[in-house]
Symmetry: C2
């Protein structure tokens, strides 16, 4: 269930409707085939991962113009009564073929194909791109973050800085698919059946008379699930206080609180200081979590530099994909009334006709070939009916990444995976 309950059909660009009215008036109702491709990889990205099909399913299933939608369209003065009458009957009567969620793919590969009556298939363009674009970005980014963090747990902290509530659910679902540990976003957690998680805010420390009281109050309530935020006043002092409170609680109650979070400063130095401190204070069980403007590049660098970190919180840079907030995802007509079609705008050429993707494998994937569709042939694209269980997608993603050579998965300067167009 995806947030927008009514009138999703109006989530379209006006030109889809004005073009549709011409098609309606001129009786242009042949079958059309559109394909979704992404034109290029963001800098330092070596692959994309497919995502967004759960939301796509919900969008297609509920696609229709409500009476209120039709009233609004009439009020614009742009549309004829005949056309609006026709629109009231339009449903997403299309067939979709797609690479399943969690599948690796590359620029210019037709990763999703929509076939159906011209008017309907055209009307779906804007919002299909909206759904798939950010979902693909986020799951690819989450996978890169998982790779960079080398198996350490990562939590999505992005709600406050992402570009809206649906974006927040898209990124939490991406985190879930890519094997991140949890999300701080309670709405997304409830919606997706994903683990909610969190620590404490600076304000929690501030409302107490002193940092130690704050630590103690929290730890008394949450016991072994407590993570104490140490950088409100002086991080080194905060780290020592956290160790002291942890030691006392362990001594008094036998409870091992979980750890600390460092949210500012020099993470390499502070985490090493904390590790040493926790050893000296006899609380070596305390885990060290860090957060604050992290992304796959910074996580990679921190671990390269020997930071003593047991887990990460990723916020803004994950939530808006700071490095690549949009990709050049397009929905292009490749066939109409059984005729292959293409365009030739500079740098935006398309190839005509329906296609398939064949992926070749040795120990790892070796290369892909995109070629004209032959029925019955081995093809990455599969008929899409309904979204798969999240576990299936998670497992596919892991399997896909295990078949991709390390050099293609590199966080910086990946090698280019070969894709041929036949």
């Amino acid at each position: 269930m995806w947030l927008i309950n009514n009138g999703p059909a109006l989530l379209t660009d006006l030109y889809e409707l004005t073009m549709a009215q011409v098609y309606f008036g001129k009786q242009m109702r042949g079958p059309a085939c559109f394909e979704v491709t992404v034109r290029r990889l963001p800098d330092n990205w070596g692959f994309f991962l497919m995502a967004g099909l759960s939301e796509l399913e919900s969008y297609l299933a509920r696609f229709h113009f409500t009476k209120a939608d039709l009233r609004y369209l009439r009020s614009t003065g742009i549309f004829s009564a005949d056309f609006l009458e026709h629109l009231s009957t339009v449903r997403a009567d299309v067939k979709v073929r797609s690479a399943p969620e969690g599948t690796v793919f590359f620029p210019h590969e037709p990763v999703l194909e929509v076939t159906g009556p011209l008017i309907c298939a055209q009307l779906l363009e804007s919002y299909i791109l909206n759904i798939l674009g950010f979902s693909i970005i986020e799951v690819t980014l989450a996978a890169r973050i998982a790779i960079a963090s080398r198996g350490l747990p990562v939590i999505d902290f992005g709600l406050r800085r992402c570009q809206g509530p649906v974006a927040s659910v898209r990124s939490a679902r991406a985190a879930q698919i890519a094997g991140l540990k949890a999300t701080s976003n309670v709405f997304a957690a409830s919606h997706l059946d994903f683990a909610p998680a969190g620590t404490m805010a600076h304000s929690f420390i501030q409302v107490h008379d002193c940092e130690e009281d704050a630590f103690r109050n929290f730890a008394e309530t949450y016991g072994e699930n407590s993570i104490l935020l140490v950088d409100t006043y002086d991080s080194a002092v905060g780290i020592k206080r956290a160790a002291k409170v942890a030691r006392q609680i362990f001594h008094d109650k036998g409870v091992r609180i979980r750890g600390i979070r460092i949210d500012s400063g020099d993470f390499v130095a502070l985490s090493k200081f904390a590790r040493d401190c926790f050893r000296e204070e006899n609380v070596p069980f305390l885990k060290i979590f860090v957060s604050g403007d992290l992304d796959e590049f910074k996580i990679h660098d921190l671990l390269e530099q020997g930071a003593q970190i047991d887990g990460f919180g990723v916020g803004t840079r994950f939530a808006v994909s700071r490095h690549a907030p949009a990709i050049e995802i397009v929905y292009k007509l490749v066939q109409y009334a059984d005729k292959g079609l293409s365009k030739s705008s500079p740098d935006k050429q398309t190839r005509p006709g329906r296609k398939m993707i064949t992926r070749f494998k040795d120990k790892y994937y070796t290369h892909d070939v995109v070629s004209p569709l032959v029925s019955g042939a081995d093809d990455l694209l599969q008929p899409f009916e309904s979204a798969e269980p999240i576990q299936t997608i998670q497992q596919r993603l892991l399997s896909e990444l295990s078949l991709l050579e390390d050099s293609v998965k590199a966080i910086k300067s990946p090698t280019k995976y070969p894709v041929e167009f036949a």
Copy 2:
């Protein structure tokens, strides 16, 4: 009315709820005061504009935990029955002071203040930041685009690439406030009572037997509202064909079609070519619109280079704020139980106590002073009850920008506006 109808209260980070449970258990229910600030300006930005209060009003008015929300929270095993019972009674019982929408502001200025019971004011943090952050980004960016385009009309084309449907409405509303001309997003247009607009897609050209038929079919349907897309095959040829169709329709029916859209290639050269062509072909009334990866920097450069452009479509780079997809917006506790509070994390220090902003003016605004709140004094922050009419906000924005020196509004390397902290 803002899209999320049920359960907006769950749009919060888990730690807001876990902290609230401690406050509840420890009877910490004093009045708290939080302020919203933005830590720094993105590169090349000289100011921010306030926005998001319409959505904030809706969020606060509907803030409550539904039975389903409470069931979910119970299922996590984190919360006691007592606390959940208390949560079921919590409403957004807070007082808000804010700079009105469309007001210019600067880093570290407390642009919005929330005062109320600690539990409630804390729970609102995550989603208030979510609402305000992207709204501020988009209205500021829209204003910068309006400045760069020197009065030429600009249309929001961002729906397909923005990070979700709520983001699309936030950016369309920002476009509306900043005086852009229209949006292609039909949902946002209907929702905001903003003008919908659009041209045609490449697919429209492709489904016709030839470009000329496509132009003619569109122009016959939409007459003087027709904008013909000329870059599907060869832009120079497309421009000449558009001129030919426009001349014939003017000759046959006396109708002046609106113009053309160029979506790729060298906009300076192609627009000059089009202008010359339209003069020679006796259709000088044809307007030239361009789109394709535009932002305020590119628009500025195109006009500096003498491009012959009558209007712009801004898509991806506006919709996700490519240059600055997030800002460091924070919600910090400054007072609890009548005691001023601050934190001192490196680079993240806050100042204690409630504050006001005094803005000084000569011919232009000269400087601001942020100082401890004195009741009855002249203050930018006003009690916020309900959102103003869009016309009021549009006019304020224009007036605010007219009082800001050109050097502060510069698209590149603006000067720093002086803000003193007393």
